[in-house]
């Protein structure tokens, strides 16, 4: 299989779906002439023209809402947020329009569309530019949430998201764009990963590190470190947070009897809160220790390099959390 970057994988997915379906179009700030702020849409304007690849004013609420309106008529907009921090301006249209449309029209009108872009922290971008947006989106029924951590997942899941008949928030990571990985050759046919299927990224038997998005890489590093210590950690990548692959979570917990949830965002009503509730609801008797969560510190992201490092989850925290559920600390 060819090795490509996460960025190239997304680019392939967009190109293939634009090619396949004329109702798909890409819209957002700097996506066309500038090839995207992070170059994800490189070459797409040239290939598909400005009817399909459209630069917008800096009007997040406006173009997100425009996307919803277009989706109401059956078009399949892919709305790019330069980062999900700026999508906060658009949340009204996402939550009040897109997520509710199918329900409040009694099933007459759906919104087959994707909101995508990088979410979470990069390096020293400070409080307003370093936020993990998952909770804001996953909280509302009516919208799906996808968080790929690898190039293959990015490609397969983006294609599925574009084909999905409901609104999908698709969260990438600025620090993931250059990550390389194997992705099936486009020549070998359509590569689509269905939403709602987690993947065990590393098998293990002593403890489950359950996670999503770019934290998958941190989980794998921690598992590697634990292995040297004789601990076999399993890494479960949820990949999509809604629909949630409950079976995969339970299966891993049944096997290891110990779980850690790792996420990039804040702890309060974070994704981990839901997973902990789910495990204690459905697998309480299998647990040998309370589930532990690893998150960002419960503070806005500081700019100073040393404080930022402290605020973010890191390998040592993940290892410590595993030690705790294994009563090794």
């Amino acid at each position: 299989m060819p090795e490509i970057t996460y960025r190239e994988a997304l680019n392939q997915a967009l190109a293939e779906e634009l090619e396949r379906d004329d109702s798909v179009f890409l819209m957002g700030e700097e996506v066309a002439e500038y090839d995207g702020a992070y170059k994800v849409s490189k070459g797409l304007l040239e290939r598909f023209g400005d009817r399909r690849v459209v630069d917008t004013p800096i009007s997040e609420l406006g173009f997100a809402g425009l996307g919803v309106g277009a989706a109401m008529t059956g078009l399949r907009p892919v709305i790019e947020f330069m980062t999900f921090n700026f999508s906060i301006l658009a949340l009204d249209q996402v939550i009040n329009s897109a997520a509710k449309m199918y329900y409040m029209t009694g099933g007459q009108i759906s919104c087959p569309m994707v909101f995508r872009g990088p979410s979470g922290a990069a390096l020293q971008l400070s409080a307003q530019h370093s936020q993990a947006a998952e909770t804001w989106y996953v909280h509302s029924p009516g919208i799906k949430l996808v968080t790929p951590g690898t190039p293959a997942d990015a490609k397969g899941l983006l294609k599925a998201s574009i084909r999905d008949n409901d609104p999908v928030a698709f969260m990438e990571g600025e620090l993931l764009y250059n990550v390389k990985g194997e992705v099936p050759d486009p020549e070998d046919g359509d590569f689509v990963i269905p939403l709602g299927k987690a993947e065990v990224k590393r098998e293990g038997s002593d403890v489950s590190i359950i996670t999503h998005g770019k934290m998958v890489h941190l989980a794998l590093q921690a598992a590697g470190k634990l292995e040297k210590d004789g601990v076999s950690a399993e890494v479960v990548d949820l990949r999509t947070l809604r629909p949630l692959d409950v079976e995969a979570i339970l299966k891993s917990v049944h096997k290891t009897n110990r779980a850690v949830y790792l996420e990039e965002g804040w702890p309060y009503v974070g994704i981990g809160s839901q997973i902990v509730a789910l495990i204690q609801d459905e697998a309480f008797d299998y647990l040998d220790a309370p589930v532990v969560r690893v998150t960002q510190a419960d503070v806005p992201m500081p700019y100073a390099k040393n404080l930022e490092k402290l605020a973010k989850p890191d390998v040592n925290r993940v290892v410590a959390a595993c030690d705790r559920v294994l009563y090794r600390d």
Binding site: D55, Q128, P267, Q296, P302, K305
Partner: protein, 364 residues
Amino acid sequence: MAEAMAETKTKAQEGAQRNGTDVTAERMERFSKDELRGFLRDMLLFRRFEEKAEEAYAIGKIGGFCHLHIGQEAVALGLIGPLREDDYVISAYREHTQALAKGLEAGPVMAELYGRDGGVSRGKGGSMHLFDAERRFMGGHGIVGGQTALAAGLGWSIRYREGDQVCVCFLGDAAVNQGAFHESMNMAAIWKLPVIFVVENNAYGMGTAFERVSAVPVVERGEGYGIPTHAINGQDILETWSFMEELAEEVRSGAGPQYVDARTYRFKGHSMSDPVSGTYRSKEEVSEKKEREDPITVLRDHLFEADLLSQEELEEMDAEVRAVVDEAAEFADDSPFPADEELYTHVYSELNEHGRLFLDGRDR
């Protein structure tokens, strides 16, 4: 640049000689020799400060996003310099020199860019979030257009307390496409808030030319709100300074909100990680603008022309501001990183007696 400054007359100067010398002389008469030289000195300081920031970024002392103001100095100085200490200024993320113009010291500003405890925001904000409450520099905001609504609030507070201060709110040309801007303009108009909205019209938002995202020019975007509209040459300190001197007084005496299209140009890339030119603007365009419309060379030439400054004095001036900037960088270097405990300070202004504020369990 002092070396480059010694070179022959710029195009602006030639033009002025052909038809505008008298006009320029007349405009310069408003100011004393010291004032005029002060303008040049301050703009040079801004330029050297940004050049130092650029250097520091290149060696990793400054991180994240860093947006330089090089080329736009006459907007910052001319539209902030004439204000009173108790007037408010609020801006976006391209605000280093605006902070300096509002009287913030170079050392603590540089220390903020370095993410140090001695920074104006204690190292927590960084380049995009410079704040100084005492000097009424209200940031430093990273969400395009967001500060315009805050400006309405600052104006509201002035009116509420029956003060005679003004609030100057800077925004980029691309920010006029944000809903917040339009909502704020309307509120400022209906409540006659003492807010001067200044669009720093450098013709681009990142890699997008303004005319690609607006059907009408910047100056027309204020119309329809019943707010007086002005267009000024932002590259000419004589113009920006005189303009604000008058406008601020009008607003103080109750003229209500104002909308200003300050035409300027960004000489550097959008941020440190973006190219200076590329698909969106040509190298030639940038070098032509630098040659003809550099606010520092424009003023320098006026001063040379009027015999108010010699090459030697200019070099002295440059040496003096370089020393200030070097000192600022030293101050930043010497300032410690914030202590680890600072991670949890300033999240809330008050820690409750009851209940847990931080839910990450790290204190257990």
